[in-house]
Amino acid sequence: MSEPRILEIKDVTKRFGGLAALKDVSFSVGKGEIKAMIGPNGAGKTTMFDVLTGILKPTAGEVFLAGESVIGKRPDQITKMGMIRTFQTIRLFEGMTALENVMVGCHSRTGAGFIACACRLPSGRREEAMIREEAMAVLKDVGLHTRANEIGTNLPYGQQRLLELARALASKPGIILLDEPAAGLNQYETGELSSLLSGFRDRGLTILVVEHDMGLVMEISDEIVVLDYGELIARGTPDEVRNDPKVIEAYLGIEA
């Protein structure tokens, strides 16, 4: 576990008025690992994602991505730094084909601006060809290449989830944050997702995942952190966490 840390979260606190959604939460994610963040509804998981990706500013604390602070940066800047997310509710771009959706995912690592695009300069055209090719390759990775030219929001639900994943992967992120990627998937689809994610990990991708499907979490995670009422109450391997009394209490209520 001496992998270099790609993401370091230090004492992050987020208050909404009097309510503390996150209280001094610290943990880190090592390069090439799958870390799961679990906890009952309202534990602060999505708030943490929003803080990490620049949508919310923490009340206190620090977040470092590959040694660089992300606090105060805009979401698009953080994406450029190599951390990208998916959403709990699917947010594909309307009216765009699957391929175009994934091509937007390449945005953060390409640079053609207004002038270059409006004048169709050679540099922009070369980049466009490259984006198209790479986006197609990513679609193939998740098995959606046959549907490249269909409108993304017209795909079946499970495939929309995969498309969101592909869109995020297209940015070639250092770390990807998945917000309930298995929500609404059937057992078969969840299984597919599980092997897909393990495969990406084996190819060097770092993943921080929030998920309610415990089967999936236990199967793919290298380590799990547990939040409850905004506090980190446990961390460890899937086996450790599964048997931790505090975790059992948080999920099942106080045992007599």
């Binding site: 994406t79 084909t97 391929l99 695009c117 409006a118 466009e128 984006i131 940015s171």
Partner: protein
């Protein structure tokens, strides 16, 4: 195999092909307008097409802003007016000032004002943005009226010299027609390029979901400001051309009615469809003349229709409502669906032929 499946409908090339066809068709209008004498149609086609072109400058840009980036503006008459007044003031107060440079200055100044206003205003969304831009239009209108030293107040500016570029004077409708439509074709080319690019995808993405676009690394704030500036500059360019064509301007030309007209053109033609803007401008610019000519075409119609201008806002309002309700994607959407359909049919036909040939061998 994969390549085959990934083969997109060739809309890429189609837009450029359409541009060529549309360009050729429009530039030939004066020719066939000669064969249909004006006193049959009771309207001056070339003159109307110049006006269409002038408005099209603004509408093509506005469509990028409204249709693609999803940001509303109810104040684009302001930029149109800024373009018009800039060149009019420069070229009448300083007679030596080259008119072509005045037009460029008009576009640049409109863009600059767009940048100044757009930065803060574009943080607003939906209705709030509509209100803010509405205010912008009103402020500009009042300034045109009240800064009398520069703008001539309600009288406006008279005797604006005709546009001349390197000694070539555009002092007739026909000459101006060619100039303005070459300009439009360039603006259309630029717009198509933009939409088909990384930036165009970014704009469409932020239209759909700003949060998701942000998360994908699209600098949404900057993109919105940039497309606002671009649309303001296009409108300014149109306004400047308008000033030199009409040779006089006054504040009444740049009221809320014009902003509404621009939006109506975009909606009627088709939001988020580059050809939509164009179709909308043609329809709505010709509409008043068509309505006025109706009594001459169809004997027995009351002549009361000829004071149409009193009712034009009513008509635009009604059109906006009807299109929003029944045809929110505008006229051009239907046209592009038809084009998609023919292309799919054509591809099937080609594939069948290929298959037949293979079998033959």
């Amino acid at each position: 195999m994969d390549k085959e499946l990934a083969r997109p409908l060739d809309t890429d090339k189609r837009d450029y092909r359409t541009l060529m066809v549309v360009g050729a068709f429009i530039l030939l209008i004066p020719l066939w307008a000669k064969f249909i004498p004006g006193d049959v149609l009771h309207m001056d086609i070339v003159n109307l097409m110049v006006l269409t072109g002038v408005y099209a400058c603004a509408v093509v840009g506005l469509n990028l802003l409204v249709g693609y980036a999803g940001q509303i503006s109810l104040g684009h008459a302001a930029f149109f007016g800024i373009g018009a007044y800039t060149t009019a003031i420069l070229c009448t107060h300083m007679h030596w000032f080259p008119t072509w440079l005045g037009v460029i200055a008009g576009a640049v100044l409109a863009g600059a004002v767009g940048w100044l206003v757009g930065k803060p205003v574009l943080r607003l969304k939906g209705n709030y943005l509509a209100m803010a831009t509405l205010g912008l239009g009103e402020i500009a209108f009042i300034l045109f009226q009240q800064v009398k030293g520069l703008t001539g107040g309600t009288v406006g500016i008279l005797d604006i010299p005709p546009l001349s570029i390197f000694g070539l004077k555009f002092d007739t409708d026909l000459k101006f027609f060619f100039l303005i439509w070459v300009v439009i074709l360039v603006l259309l080319l630029v717009s198509i390029n933009l939409i088909k690019s990384r930036v165009g995808r970014g704009l469409r993405a932020l239209h759909s979901s700003e949060v998701a676009a942000d998360a994908m690394g699209v600098a949404t704030g900057r993109y919105k400001a940039q497309v606002f500036v671009l649309s303001a500059a296009f409108a300014g360019l149109g306004g400047a051309m308008f000033a030199h064509f009409q040779k006089y301007i006054n504040p009444e030309s740049f009221t809320l009615a014009l902003s509404i007209l621009f939006i109506t053109m975009v909606v009627v033609g088709g939001m988020g469809n580059i050809w939509g803007g164009l179709v909308g401008v043609v329809i709505l610019t010709f509409l008043p003349s068509v309505i006025q000519a109706l009594p001459q075409w169809i004997p027995g119609l009351p002549h009361g229709l000829s004071n149409f201008s009193n009712y034009e806002l009513v008509l635009y309002g009604a059109l906006l409502i009807l299109f929003m309700m029944f045809m929110p994607k505008g006229v051009a959407f239907g046209l592009s669906r038809a084009a998609d359909y023919t292309e799919v049919r054509a591809r099937h036909f080609r594939d069948r032929q290929k298959a037949r040939k293979m079998e033959g061998r």
